[in-house]
Structures are given as structure tokens and as C-alpha cells.
């Protein structure tokens, strides 16, 4: 496949770009294989052109077109001269898209035909395939507006002179933004000058974590049973397992867990030696199958008489129903030392819909107070935030207060499970709250742990495409971290800015960090060899400073958040980032930086410099002399 095939019109002059809260600018629009650029020439010929827009096309979530005809009588079938063209729903107005290659071919360079450009269903108007001159003349004075709704929730409008250009631009953007092949994505082409390719890729995060805990306990070992991804395709090659359990036991236990996700160590609580494990659901099925190796594996975690907790992120009802499809949950009789707790957390489609509804409500400026609060309630996003935080608190409580080990799983063990284990670690472990530690946590508990980013973040809140496996679990996690940062403003080393950047990059990125669904895919795509790591970029000193929290002061304690509704707020910095002006809040942060840095310099000045001045004054006596 060639990108050039997808680009129908590469440049258009005199395009007007507008977005909320900013003055509109006119300039030349350019489409490259991965970017949409708009450059303007403010001062005529001599002036260098200014780049006003540099948009990664992958960031585009939905394209909407509106055409304005000015030199053409209104066709009788259309009530007004303005045709609003709804986004095409596959399977309604247009023929369904050919299924994109999935599975193993996904990371291979596909040579299949590009996805159908979705612009044909203009209704009364067919875009000119071959340029006939009478038609061109008729359309010369027409123009069109393209609204680009981005995955980072930004909304842009491009007013494009010429209907054909408008349609071409729209279809090019649609085609380019829906290229699904990983290796065609921008990270494989992005080569920033300041970075080297291999920089910043975390070296074996699981191994590193193991080294830390090996200093404190000998109960656990590093297993390479999954080194060729044969036991569990979504686990990394190295996992941490009980020292007493053999590789063969692991292999058998894996067969009893969905996706082969046998229980592995997620977190070691140094204060009392308890651990948090995670896994997929046990495949008990309708016949209540048992697996001796799985029971042994879990049994080996607890000493005689010790009790552990299984936190199932589904309702008891849902867990029971899962038996019909081969899944299930651990029966008390087979796992006598483990007490099961059900804490249902939403995921999958309902969570995606919650996100979509929330964003719709946020963008609806016509709402009155009551309607706004009603929609905030009915989208249930904040309920999900509260539930996620509560469940993470429960897991943390089991470890820290009850001094019991915990196993967390839902169904696949790649979504709500990771949400809970990652949040619980942030609550318990001060080391995770530094910039470095947080990166490590994301690597271990999200990226290496096999959260399917490619599937979950394929579309954001604006896309009208048929939902497949999209779900904003990672966004929900970031939101919960933001809630923690609001309740403990001194305890996280990073700022809101980092969370926003992570959200943006999970959905569309210049970097390879969030590509693919698991380590196996990343290896096949050679992500680490051929793309740059986001962490390398963020770790550059000048970038890093942008993401630091000026108020940070290491807090060795557990940070227990309040989960009362009064304590949970809508994350305006994310959901209203492009809607409200942040000028006054930015100024407040600048002021905080000034105060915090100022108080440091004040200390320095008043002690060091003034002291040295006075000491260098020969007339100033010292204590000894007096």
C-alpha cells in the first residue's frame, strides 16, 4: 500500500482554520502521509511562513463535512442550499467496509486495498470521479467545511474553497486516519533529532522489579516459562511467580486460566510481605472443573492458616454466568484459604458509551444547569471513577490493613484488573508516585501486562464507527490518578500535564510506547527497534520540567483517597481542555512555581549570599574573635 494512493489532493490554498477559543487563520493546507499541516504567510513574500497546524492524522477520530453551494440552484430534493452530510455509518448508507486484516497479519505491511473512502453517500451529490469541465465550473464558487473531531477531544474546522477539494481532503483524512496496520503508523517514521532509537526503552521492567523484591524475600522467583509467548500470548517473557512452583505447574495452571493468564505477582508490599497477584478468570465452566496446579499455585502464596482475598471485578451474578461460556470464578471449596469479594467495575462497551455520553454533554453549550447535572449523572462516568477508586482502596486495604495477600481478576484480566492493581500500587507505594516510578508502573502494569492498547484506543469519544473493542480503561485510570493528585497535591511528582500527554499518546502518538496489544505483538513488529520511546522524549530535561509538580514532596505514607461523591470531581482539565480557557489557571500554576522556587531562592539568598557578603566584610567579627 502506498500512502500516495490515499491522498487525493495534497495541497489546497486559502483554507480557513478555526477552533474554539482561537482566532481563525487562513493558509495553505497540506496533507502528508501522517500529518495535516496548515501554514500561513502573515507578512507576504518576505516573511517565513508560520505553521499554524501540525496535526497527526492518526489523531482524527471523526470527519464531518458540510458543503455550501453558491453558484448552483438548489436541487428540488434538498430543502436548503446547505447540505449537512452526516457521518457515514458503515452498513447504513454505504456498503460495509471490507474487514481489515486482523490477527497475525495485523503487524505485517498489508498490501490490501485501502479502506473505502467514506464520502460517496453525499445523497444528492456524487463527487466527480473524472473531472468533467462543466461540473467543475459549476462547483468553482462552492466551498465546504470539514470538522475534524480528534481523539484528544479537540475539534477543528477547516473551511475549504472548492467542493471537490473539500471532499478529497475529507476522504484522504478519513482513509489515512483509519489505516489499521501498526507498521504503517507514524512512530515507525518519526525520527526526532535529539533522540537515539534505542534510548528510553525500559530495560526489562519486570526483571528490574524482581531485583528489588529479591532483596527482601526469597519466596518469589523470575520465571521465563513464557519466553517465546507460548504459555500466555499476552504476558511478557518474564513473570514473577512463587519460588516453590515449577514451570510445569505454571503451564498447567495457564491452561486453566483465560488467555493463559495464570496468577503472577503484580506487587510486593514491603511493609508486611503480602503480595498482590493478578490473573485471568479460571476456566471452571458449567461442569465446575478444577485444576490442581492452579490450586497449588495459589495455595503456595499463603502459609497455613493465612487468609487471602480474591477481588473479582465482576458482580457475583456475572461471574456465575461466565461459567456458561467456559469461564467462572474460584469456588470456596477448592480454594479454602481464599475469600472472594465481588466489586463490579464497568468495562467494554458500556464504559465506552459512558465516555461518549460525557464528551457529548461537555460539548453541548446549550445545556442549562439542571440538564447538565442530569447528563453528568446519567453518563455515569463519575460513578465509574468512584467505583474504580473504591475497589483499588479495597485491594490496598486488604494488603496494608488486613495484612492479607490479594488476587485480582475479572474476565480476561487485561482491563479492570490492571486498573485496580495499578491504582492500588499508587495508593500504597511511594516509589510509584515519582515520575520515574510512575513510568515503571505503567510499563509493568499496563504495557507489559498486556492491556490491549491498540484495540481499546482505536477510537475515542467522537467516532461514529462501529465500536469493536474500544474502551477507555486507560483514561479511567488516568482520571483516578488525577483524583488522587487533587486529594494529595504534594504526593505525586508529576503534574496534570503528564496525565494529559499520556492520554493523547495512548490514542495517537509519535512514539511506539503504546503501540500494539501486548509484548508478543511488539516483538513481531520490532517496535523497540524501529520506533522511539515516549519515555525518552519525556525524560529530556526541558520536557521533563513541564511535567513536574511544583508542590511535590515525597510522602512515605499510604495515600488513602476519599471516595465520597463530594470528593470526586469531573476532570475539567481533560474534558474541557479545548472548551474553556485555561489562561487564569495556568497563571495560577506559574504563580505557584514562582512562590515555591522563590521561597527556595529566598532561603538561599538570605543565608548564603547575604552571609557571604557579611563574612567577606572584614569588619564583621566572627564568634571566635569575640
Amino acid at each position: 500500500m502506498e500512502f500516495s494512493e490515499l491522498i487525493k489532493t495534497a495541497t489546497v490554498e486559502s483554507v480557513l482554520l478555526s477552533c474554539a477559543g482561537q482566532p481563525a487563520v487562513k493558509g495553505t493546507l497540506c496533507i502528508t502521509s501522517h500529518h495535516l499541516l496548515l501554514s500561513s504567510c502573515p507578512g507576504g513574500d518576505g516573511q517565513p511562513s508560520a505553521v499554524e497546524l501540525w496535526l497527526l492524522i492518526r489523531n482524527v477520530d471523526a470527519v464531518e463535512k458540510r458543503l455550501v453551494l453558491s453558484h448552483r440552484p438548489v436541487p428540488p430534493s434538498v430543502p436548503s442550499s446547505m447540505g449537512v452530510i452526516p457521518r457515514c455509518h458503515p452498513g447504513t448508507a454505504e456498503p460495509p467496509l471490507p474487514p481489515l486484516p486482523r490477527g497475525p497479519r495485523q503487524w505485517a505491511l498489508t498490501s490490501s486495498s485501502p479502506p473505502c473512502p467514506r464520502v460517496q453517500n453525499v445523497g444528492w451529490y456524487q463527487p466527480p470521479r473524472s473531472s468533467g469541465s462543466p461540473r467543475d465550473n459549476r462547483l468553482a464558487g462552492s466551498s465546504g467545511t470539514i470538522t475534524l473531531r480528534c481523539k484528544d477531544l479537540k475539534v477543528l474546522q477547516l473551511e475549504i474553497p472548492g467542493m471537490e477539494e473539500c471532499l478529497n481532503i475529507a476522504s484522504s483524512i478519513e482513509a489515512l486516519s483509519s489505516v489499521d496496520s501498526v507498521m504503517m503508523m507514524y512512530p515507525f517514521f518519526h525520527r526526532p533529532q535529539s533522540l537515539r532509537l534505542e534510548e528510553g526503552w525500559p530495560l526489562l521492567p519486570v526483571e528490574q522489579y524482581f531485583q528489588q523484591l529479591a532483596l527482601q524475600t526469597t519466596q518469589w522467583r523470575l520465571s521465563d516459562v513464557n519466553r517465546d509467548f507460548a504459555v500466555c500470548p499476552t504476558y511478557p517473557p518474564a513473570v514473577i511467580v512463587p519460588a516453590a512452583v515449577s514451570e510445569e505447574t505454571l503451564r498447567r495452571a495457564a491452561r486453566f486460566r483465560q488467555g493463559g493468564r495464570f496468577p503472577v505477582l503484580s506487587y510486593y508490599h514491603s511493609r508486611n510481605g503480602t503480595v498482590m497477584l493478578r490473573s485471568g478468570q479460571p476456566l471452571t465452566g458449567p461442569n465446575r472443573k478444577r485444576c490442581a496446579e492452579d490450586e497449588m499455585l495459589l495455595g503456595s502464596v499463603l502459609d497455613d492458616g493465612e487468609r487471602g482475598f480474591i477481588i473479582d471485578t465482576r458482580s457475583a451474578q456475572a461471574a456465575k454466568q461466565a461459567r456458561m461460556t467456559g469461564g467462572g470464578t474460584e469456588p470456596k471449596s477448592s480454594y479454602p484459604q481464599w475469600k472472594r469479594l465481588h466489586r463490579p467495575l464497568e468495562r467494554g462497551r458500556p464504559l465506552q458509551e459512558s465516555f461518549i455520553k460525557l464528551v457529548e454533554a461537555c460539548n453541548d453549550a446549550s445545556l442549562g444547569m439542571d440538564r447538565w447535572l442530569g447528563r453528568l449523572e446519567s453518563c455515569r462516568w463519575l460513578s465509574h471513577v468512584k467505583a474504580a477508586l473504591s475497589t483499588a482502596c479495597l485491594a490496598a486495604q486488604c494488603l496494608d490493613r488486613e495484612e492479607s495477600s490479594v488476587l485480582v481478576h475479572g474476565a480476561e484480566g487485561t482491563d479492570t484488573t490492571l486498573l485496580v492493581t495499578a491504582l492500588a500500587q499508587l495508593i500504597l507505594e511511594p516509589g510509584c508516585r515519582t515520575l520515574k516510578g510512575f513510568q515503571g508502573l505503567l510499563e509493568r502494569e499496563w504495557i507489559q501486562a498486556g492491556h490491549p492498547f491498540h484495540l481499546r484506543c482505536a477510537h475515542s469519544a467522537y467516532s461514529h464507527a462501529r465500536l469493536k473493542q474500544e474502551a477507555p480503561l486507560f483514561l479511567l485510570f488516568l482520571d483516578c490518578v488525577w483524583q488522587l493528585s487533587r486529594q494529595f497535591p504534594f504526593s505525586l511528582e508529576f503534574s496534570e500535564g503528564l496525565l494529559l500527554t499520556l492520554f493523547d499518546n495512548a490514542y495517537a502518538s509519535d512514539y511506539g510506547t503504546f503501540l500494539c496489544n501486548n509484548e508478543k505483538e511488539r516483538c513481531l513488529c520490532k517496535v523497540k527497534e524501529s520506533t522511539h520511546s515516549l519515555w525518552a522524549w519525556l525524560d529530556q530535561p526541558e520536557e521533563r520540567k513541564k511535567y513536574l509538580n511544583p508542590l511535590y514532596s515525597p510522602n512515605p505514607l499510604v495515600i488513602w483517597p476519599s471516595v465520597e461523591p463530594q470528593s470526586i470531581q469531573l476532570w475539567q482539565g481533560l474534558f474541557f481542555r479545548w472548551i474553556r480557557s485555561s489562561q487564569y489557571l495556568d497563571e495560577a500554576w506559574a504563580e505557584i512555581w514562582r512562590l515555591v522556587e522563590g521561597s527556595n531562592t529566598a532561603v538561599k539568598e538570605s543565608t548564603e549570599s547575604r552571609l557571604s557578603r557579611s563574612l567577606s566584610d572584614p569588619t564583621a567579627p566572627t564568634e571566635n574573635e569575640r
Partner: protein, 629 residues
């Protein structure tokens, strides 16, 4: 005192509203002014003080096995749930509190017995701190168009207005008197704020007695005079802040609103802010939501929506923004009224002034604003706050809404106010506490009759003394921002947990940025003072310099250390003893030591730094101790 039959009850439990933490057990005392609860179970002596005037309701709940529960709701949204062992004790405390919390005679109010041991002179200086004439001068009044008149010196024009009012120069005495007969309770149009840049004014009054067809020539002349005092605009707005339906209903009672046909060049507009009864019941519903035990997110949001509270807050803000825009952008004067012009009108006029003029966003300006638009213009604090035993239908959270609107603005504009949230809460507390004279009575005349100025103290100097802890560390000064244009989309209004759940500490952020920044700032100021101290000392050769400098660097370390505040809601014990300003106990000793040295040094070199004629009260505020130059 005659109301107190049982001054002390032992073995009283205080239940925590939200968590299932072990209930505190201790002793309850009743004094002439406060209910005091001393927690005996805690390691550190912990006291809960409740001012009798703050008590809104006292309820005796059905007897339980633990004892007899007594539930107290306060006007500052504190809720205390006691369990008293003996039914008889409970009943006596209950009857005492009922009487103590609802005095019948004004002389029983706390302000008349409050004695902060301040000299008579200082008390009088305190009352003169806020001078409204100075504020009118600041606006350039008197000028060619406006004058301060004493037509109301004997309260003949309007007995709920102050003796001095600002009216257009062009309005004759006959016009003023005539207009007053056509306005409900004689509350004629007077100036509230003059926007100097373009001469557009905000004026306020009560509804006209127009009924279905009545007219009044003088009133029409009065409005014309106001319009003509702003030659830059050919028209003026007349804003009725009531919902149209309410205003129309008033016509049947011979009141109503201005007929556009009878007044030259006015643009008439309704802005639907609901009346005091709707607001009272809205707050009631909001508080019920706040008190629900472990509500789900949906319960809370639905409750918040159904209370309508934020909708009302938004309505007040929308109206104020309309006023500010009319004045600033359209350069038109605005006359505002509601029914009597002392509730909604006060809210809207004061907020619009706050949006237009940075002066009112500073400590002193905010005090002026409250004195001017609320106290002087006759907002009936006594009735709205239920200071005395009276008609419960007169009680309404009108002032609370104003304070909340200011807080909402603080959220949007964190660097534009000189003061912080605590300042608002302090004022709100004292509006109900009756500890100071400012908010007693219903109008200026009544306060004179009560001899407030002779017998009580003013709140403002008391607050200025606490300026250090009430300031906003992010304030960027007077000139950084001029007019504010707040976003009034619904999402910009947040539930104010710090007010309505203020006493439920578990819900608040566990680490307080404000306190931290304040201590940063105070340390900085102290260090700078100290540094200049050292510099000034150098020529005198009288200090053990290096020692002091080392000592200072220690302070520096302590200052940069962040307080480690961490109170999970389910901790068994209380939070580690961290003082409210966020500095740990160790730091305090160090700093107070510095303080001590500071003062000693000040005694030696006072002339060096304090020779500037700082106003008396400000320097008092700075050192927390009166100094006489």
C-alpha cells in the same frame, strides 16, 4: 444564664457523621455563649465549640440503647450528633439550647457582651475603618452628574436607606421625594457603582408601585436623570431580577414593574432569580443531600440537580455578568430592582461591582462592598439569618449565595483575589455569630437605635488582624486584572464542599495547597525581614552573626519541608498532630524563636523599618499585637 439548668454533662458521645470511627466520649459544657464538648478519649485534648447563635435547629431523636441522641444543625453547616446517657440530662440540654439559640431581645445577642479587651479608642477607630464616602470619592463622586445628598438624614425619604445616598445632581428634592412615594418602601433609585471609564452607572431601587396603570412623573424624571448622567449612552437598562411571572403577580397588589412606554429610552429586562422562599427550600434540599450517609455518585448528582442550588447560583451570576457587560461593553447605565430591592438586588449589584472593579477584590474593598451594598442599603441580616426568635419564613440564604458566587469566581480566577476561601468562611460565620455589631438589625436606622456603634465592635479590624492567614498567596496585585468575564456555562459551577461539608474533614483534599503556600510565603517574609535585620545590624557589630546565619539555614530547611498530612477516612486514631497552618510542631518552635528574636531586634531598630506611616490597623495585623507609634 437563667436558661442554663445543667452546665455540665459527662459521658457524652459525639458521633462522626460519615465514618464508622469509634465515637468520641467526653464532657459537654454549656456556657453563656457556647456549647463546648471536650473529648476525653483522645490522647490530645480535643474541643468542639459551638456558638449558641450558630445553632439553627436542635432535635431530640428517639432513645437508643446507647442513650438519648441530640442532633444539632448549625447555620455554618456544622452538624453535631451527641448521645447523652441520661434522658433527663438530654432534655435539659435540649431546652436550654432552644432558648439560648433563639434570643428574643436584641440585647441578648453576643455582640453586646463580647469584650475583646480593646481600648475605647481602638474600638471607635475600628468602626471608622470603612468609610463609604471614601469609596464614592474613589469613583469620582461628587462630580458633574452625581452628588451625595443628606436628604435622608432623618430617614424621611426611606427608613431602610442610610442617611447619605448618591443621586443624580439633576434630580431635584421634589423629584427624589416624589419618586420615593412611587417606590415600594420608599426605596428610590440610588447609585450603587459608577464605572469611571465611561460614566455608566449601576443604580438600585425597589419595585415601582405601578399596579396595572399608575404612573409617577417624578419617578420618570428620576430615571431620566440617571440616564442623562451617562451622556455616552442614549438609553439605559432597567433590570427586574425577578421571574416575569412573579413581577406580574405583584401588579395585582399595586406594585409591579416599569412600563417601557412611560419611561424615555429605557430597555426593560427580566432576569429570573427566584425569591427567598425558593432559595430557602433549595438550600434545605442541598443540605439533605450533603448529609446523606454514603450516597452513590448518582444519588449525589441527582440530589444536587433536584435541589436546584447551582441553578440559582448560576442565575445570580448570569445576572451580574449581564450588568457588568451592559456597563462595560454597551456603556449603558443599569437600574436594578427586585421586590424590595434588598435581596436579589444586593446580590447582583455587589457581584457586578466585583466583576468590574479590582478594588473590591482586595481585603479592604471587599469590606467596603459588603458595608455598602448589603449593610448600608438595608439587607435584613437579622431576619434573613434568624438572629432572633422570629418568623422562620423570613430566613433565607441570600448572603450565603453571594459568598458562594465569590468563591465560584475564585475558582475561575485564582490570582485575582487578595483574600482566600477562609476569609469568605470567616465572614459567613460572623454574619451568623452576632459577635460583632456589623450585621445586627435590619438597616442603618435600626443599628443606630440599638447603639451598635457605641456598644459593640466591628468585625473588619478583627479580620485584618488575621490577614496573614486569610490572604491569597497567588494574588497578583491590584493591577494585574481589571474586569473579569467569568465563564457561566454550567460546568464552571462546582459544588462547594468547603462550605456545605466544611466540617467533614474526611472529604477534603488531604493535603492543603493553600496552607502550604501561605507558610511558604510567611517563611519568605520572615526570612526577608530577618535578612534585612542582619544587614541593618552589620554596622552596629552587635550580633553573633555566623550563628544566626546557620540558624537561619535550618529554618530554611524546615520551610521547604512539606507537611505530611495524611488522614485516611478509616484510620482508627486521629491524624498526626499537625497544626492547621500545615507546619509541624517542630517548625513552630523554630519560627516562634525567630519571631522572638525579631521582636527583640525590632525593639532595637524599630525606627529603621517601621518608620513608614503604616496605618495603625495594618501594622497591628502584621504583628498580631497593637503597636502605638
Amino acid at each position: 444564664m437563667e436558661h442554663i439548668t445543667t452546665p455540665k454533662v459527662e459521658n457524652v458521645k459525639l458521633l462522626d457523621r460519615y465514618t464508622n470511627r469509634k465515637a468520641a466520649s467526653g464532657t459537654l459544657y454549656l456556657t453563656a455563649t457556647h456549647l463546648i464538648y471536650v473529648d476525653a478519649s483522645a490522647e490530645v485534648r480535643k474541643e468542639t465549640w459551638i456558638l449558641h447563635h450558630h445553632i439553627a435547629t436542635v432535635e431530640k431523636l428517639p432513645l437508643t440503647t446507647a442513650g438519648c441522641p441530640l442532633l444539632i444543625h448549625c447555620k455554618n453547616f456544622h452538624v453535631a450528633h451527641f448521645v447523652i446517657g441520661q434522658e433527663r440530662d438530654c432534655h435539659e440540654v435540649y431546652t436550654s439550647l432552644l432558648k439560648l439559640s433563639q434570643p428574643v431581645k436584641p440585647e441578648e445577642l453576643y455582640a453586646f457582651s463580647y469584650n475583646p479587651k480593646m481600648s475605647k479608642d481602638n474600638r471607635e477607630i475600628g468602626w471608622k475603618l470603612i468609610d463609604l464616602k471614601v469609596d464614592y470619592q474613589r469613583m469620582g463622586i461628587p462630580n458633574d452628574y452625581w452628588e451625595i445628598t443628606d436628604l435622608n438624614k432623618d430617614y424621611e425619604v426611606c427608613n431602610t436607606y442610610p442617611p447619605e445616598i448618591v443621586v443624580p445632581r439633576a434630580a431635584s428634592k421634589a423629584t427624589v421625594i416624589g419618586s420615593s412615594r412611587f417606590r415600594s418602601r420608599g426605596r428610590i433609585p440610588v447609585l450603587s457603582y459608577l464605572y469611571k471609564e465611561n460614566n455608566a452607572a449601576i443604580c438600585r431601587c425597589s419595585q415601582p408601585l405601578s399596579g396595572f396603570s399608575a404612573r409617577c412623573l417624578e419617578d420618570e424624571q428620576m430615571l431620566q436623570a440617571i440616564r442623562e448622567a451617562n451622556p455616552g449612552s442614549p438609553f439605559m437598562y432597567v433590570v427586574d431580577t425577578r421571574p416575569k411571572l412573579n413581577a406580574m403577580a405583584n401588579r395585582a397588589a399595586g406594585k409591579g414593574y416599569e412600563n417601557e412606554d412611560n419611561y424615555d429610552n429605557i430597555r426593560f429586562k427580566f432576569i429570573g432569580i427566584e425569591n427567598i422562599h425558593v432559595m430557602r427550600s433549595s438550600l434545605q434540599k442541598l443540605l439533605e443531600v450533603c448529609e446523606t450517609k454514603s450516597p452513590s455518585m448518582s444519588d449525589f448528582l441527582t440530589g444536587l440537580e433536584n435541589s436546584g442550588w447551582l441553578r440559582h447560583i448560576k442565575a445570580v451570576m448570569d445576572a451580574s455578568v449581564f450588568l457588568a457587560k451592559a456597563v462595560k461593553d454597551e456603556k449603558a447605565s443599569v437600574l436594578v430592582h427586585c421586590s424590595d430591592g434588598w435581596d436579589r438586588t444586593a446580590q447582583v449589584c455587589s457581584l457586578a461591582s466585583l466583576l468590574l472593579d479590582p478594588f473590591y477584590r482586595a481585603f479592604k474593598g471587599f469590606m467596603v462592598l459588603i458595608e455598602k451594598e448589603w449593610i448600608a442599603m438595608g439587607h435584613k441580616f437579622s431576619h434573613r439569618c434568624g438572629h432572633l426568635d422570629g418568623d422562620p419564613k423570613e430566613v433565607s440564604p441570600v448572603f450565603t449565595q453571594f459568598i458562594e458566587c465569590v468563591w465560584q469566581l475564585m475558582q475561575q480566577f485564582p490570582c485575582t483575589f487578595e483574600f482566600n476561601e477562609h476569609f469568605l468562611l470567616e465572614i459567613h460565620d460572623h454574619v451568623y455569630s452576632c459577635q460583632f455589631g456589623n450585621f445586627l438589625g435590619t438597616c442603618h436606622k435600626e443599628r443606630e437605635d440599638l447603639k451598635i456603634f457605641e456598644k459593640t465592635h466591628s468585625l473588619w479590624p478583627f479580620l485584618l488582624q488575621k490577614k496573614q492567614e486569610l490572604r491569597n498567596p497567588l494574588y497578583r496585585g491590584f493591577t494585574a486584572y481589571k474586569e473579569l468575564q467569568p465563564n457561566t456555562l454550567p460546568f464552571s459551577f462546582q459544588f462547594w464542599c468547603g462550605m456545605y461539608n466544611r466540617f467533614d474533614k474526611g472529604m477534603h483534599p488531604k493535603q492543603c495547597v493553600l496552607d502550604h503556600l501561605l507558610s511558604c510565603m510567611n517563611q519568605k517574609i520572615k526570612l526577608e525581614d530577618n535578612a534585612s535585620e542582619l544587614e541593618n545590624k552589620l554596622p552596629f557589630l552587635d550580633g553573633p552573626l555566623p550563628n544566626e546565619a546557620c540558624f537561619l539555614s535550618k529554618v530554611g530547611c524546615a520551610a521547604s519541608k512539606t507537611p505530611m498530612l495524611n488522614t485516611p477516612q478509616d484510620y482508627e486514631g486521629e491524624a498526626p498532630p499537625v497544626l492547621t497552618n500545615g507546619i509541624s510542631v517542630g517548625d513552630i518552635n523554630v519560627t516562634s524563636d525567630v519571631d522572638q528574636r525579631n521582636k527583640e531586634n525590632l525593639a532595637n531598630h524599630r525606627d529603621l523599618h517601621l518608620n513608614d506611616s503604616v496605618d495603625v490597623l495594618n501594622s497591628e495585623a502584621k504583628d498580631g499585637k497593637p503597636q502605638h507609634h
